[in-house]
């Protein structure tokens, strides 16, 4: 005879719980989006610029996170792709008067190619060595940019004018760039989410966690790793292109090693292997240095470094990781107590 014991209500609640949780998540996201769309009409020019830059960084961080967080290839040189994207846009507009809209996909495509090509020798480099090679790349970028001054305008850089809104929309240039960046961020966000949730995403994570087992299971490790490098570079290149438009200026010293370090910091603080983390990380790298400057005019990076180390102590898996841990604990609490299973660290 079957008995409906105490197990049943718990099971029913557990079946409902994920649906409700997902529902709440969606509501939350939509609310955030609504707020984001209202912001440009309430903020001043500089603040708006800062938030636009947050979106730009978020795109770059999405790219880097794909490579380092999901696929396990450490890159300390993504500033190079940011620079390529930025200079592609700048050169195309300045030299060939290409409409700015076309420069963005071109920058992305170029970086996709360069990233993929860089990914091929990178296949032979494991963790530490790849990090080193990319760090060396980051250190060398300003020198290379200054050397080919025929193209890049040398140390002086290239000045651009900020594009105005299309279709005669009544927005300021700042507001238009804000919405453009937000729009591109959303599109790329959804693309990344789809990519990472499906087979590709699982293959990438498998390669990160156990490349030999992944290969043994038939995953074409070499192809995936190079492709991931390419896509990651493309994202960062698009971000660089956008930043050239937003800042309206490119110069070699902007793309020094500190940029690559900043990007890395962004994904680590925001959360490795976490898409939402890209936004947290972008907020961190945009605003914390400013607050650091408020605290200490003289040594802002020192404060930045201290906060960085502090975050690592408290949340080694970044904000995204902490949020996930928290939501998992909440979900378990809601579903009631079950047998305690051995929990593996992420």
């Amino acid at each position: 005879m079957e008995t409906a014991g105490a197990g049943e209500p718990v099971a029913r609640a557990a079946a409902l719980a994920p649906v409700t949780a997902r529902g709440w998540k969606l509501v939350g996201l939509l609310a955030l989006l609504a707020v984001a769309c209202l912001l440009p009409f309430t903020l001043s020019g500089f603040r708006l610029f800062q938030f636009t830059q947050v979106f730009v960084y978020a795109i770059a961080l999405l790219g880097l996170n794909m490579l380092t967080g999901y696929n396990g290839q450490i890159s300390l040189g993504h500033g190079a792709f940011y620079a390529i994207g930025a200079y592609t846009t700048a050169i195309m507009i300045d030299r060939w008067s290409v409409p700015y809209g076309w420069t963005i996909p071109v920058a992305g495509a170029l970086c996709l190619l360069v990233g993929f090509l860089f990914g091929i020798p990178a296949l032979r480099l494991e963790g530490l060595y790849l990090a080193l090679a990319t760090f060396a790349l980051a250190l060398a970028v300003p020198q290379i940019l200054k050397h080919f001054d025929g193209w890049t305008g040398g140390s002086q850089g290239i000045v651009l004018s900020r594009p105005g809104p299309p279709f005669g929309l009544r927005l300021s240039a700042d507001q238009w760039l804000y919405f453009l960046s937000l729009g591109i961020l959303l599109v790329l966000f959804v693309l990344a989410w789809n990519l990472l949730r499906g087979r590709t995403g699982r293959a990438m994570v498998a390669i990160r966690d156990n490349p030999i087992a992944a290969a043994a299971m038939g995953v074409n490790t070499a192809l995936y790793k190079s492709l991931t490098f390419g896509v990651s570079a493309a994202y960062t290149g698009v971000a660089g292109a956008l930043s050239a438009l937003v800042v309206a200026f490119v110069a070699p010293d902007t793309f020094n090693v500190f940029l690559s370090i900043t990007l890395l910091v962004g994904i680590v603080v925001g959360g490795l292997a976490s898409i939402s983390g890209a936004l947290f990380g972008a907020l961190f790298i945009q605003f914390v240095p400013n607050y650091a400057q408020d605290i200490s005019k003289a040594a802002p990076w020192a404060i930045f470094g201290v906060v960085l180390i502090g975050v690592m102590y408290v949340m080694p898996y970044g904000v995204g990781g902490a949020v996930r841990l928290l939501s998992r604990r909440l979900a378990r609490a809601r579903a009631g107590t079950g047998p305690r299973r051995a929990r593996l660290p992420e």
Binding site: G127, V265, V268
Partner: protein, 293 residues
Amino acid sequence: MDVFFQQVVSGLATGGIYGSLALALVMIYQATDVVNYAQGEMAMFSTYLAWSMMNAGLPYWVAFFATLALAFVGGLVIERVIIRPVENAPVLTIVIVCIGLLVILNSIAGWIYSYVIQPFPSPFPSTPIRIGSVIFGPHDLGAIGVTFVMLLLLYCFFRFTSLGLAMRAAAQNPASSRLVGIRVGWMLGLGWGLAALVGAVAGMMVAPVIFLEPNMMSGILIYAFASATLGGFTSPGGAVVGGFLVGVIENLAGTYISFIGTDLKLTVALALIIVVLVVKPSGLFGRAVVRRV
């Protein structure tokens, strides 16, 4: 031909400095599997400390050895206080912490000492030494000498003393080291202290040549990486030899290959790193790491 010899000697001098910094990197890597990206900034900061002491009136060699002591203690404290909490965290976390350290040291140096480029004295006489028709700078020869003495002392320490043996053991096999009573944590701290000391020597030897300013070591750091890569990250001796090679190659390439000049020297180092890593990742003297599946 004279130019060749001069460039070689000068290359060996700078190579000794690259090799020293590379040695510091390899020592820490062997003990902790961590590449200390802050090694250059630690060396730079130590050099500034020496500079402050000399400005306060202390004679060169007093300041020199005092700096070595301070650097050693500093490295030890940094490992025990800052690195220890994340010892067992994922590698990327430790990398971030090292980079945080880099940023902090660079920023504080800029704050205390400003970004104005300062001259740094050399302890060696300034009259050039003439051997045959070749002219050698005494600082170059002196730097080579100091490097050799330091490396010799380090070698003897690790090879012949029981503390050195314990440090080697702790780096290779922490679990077994605990079983023979070695306090592995303190060995790591000592390792960082020694690495910082080596870095300080490198800093003080190179500052007279490239002048003292907070960003002075970033170029040297990439050369040190190139040296360690060329020599092999698993081989301390290899790192030093790698350093000499990189120094000589850098000078000869800059002299004889015209489009490189001074602009693209860093790019040469970058290219060297990539080529070595693609062709033979374990470097000239390193052991290929065979991973058991």
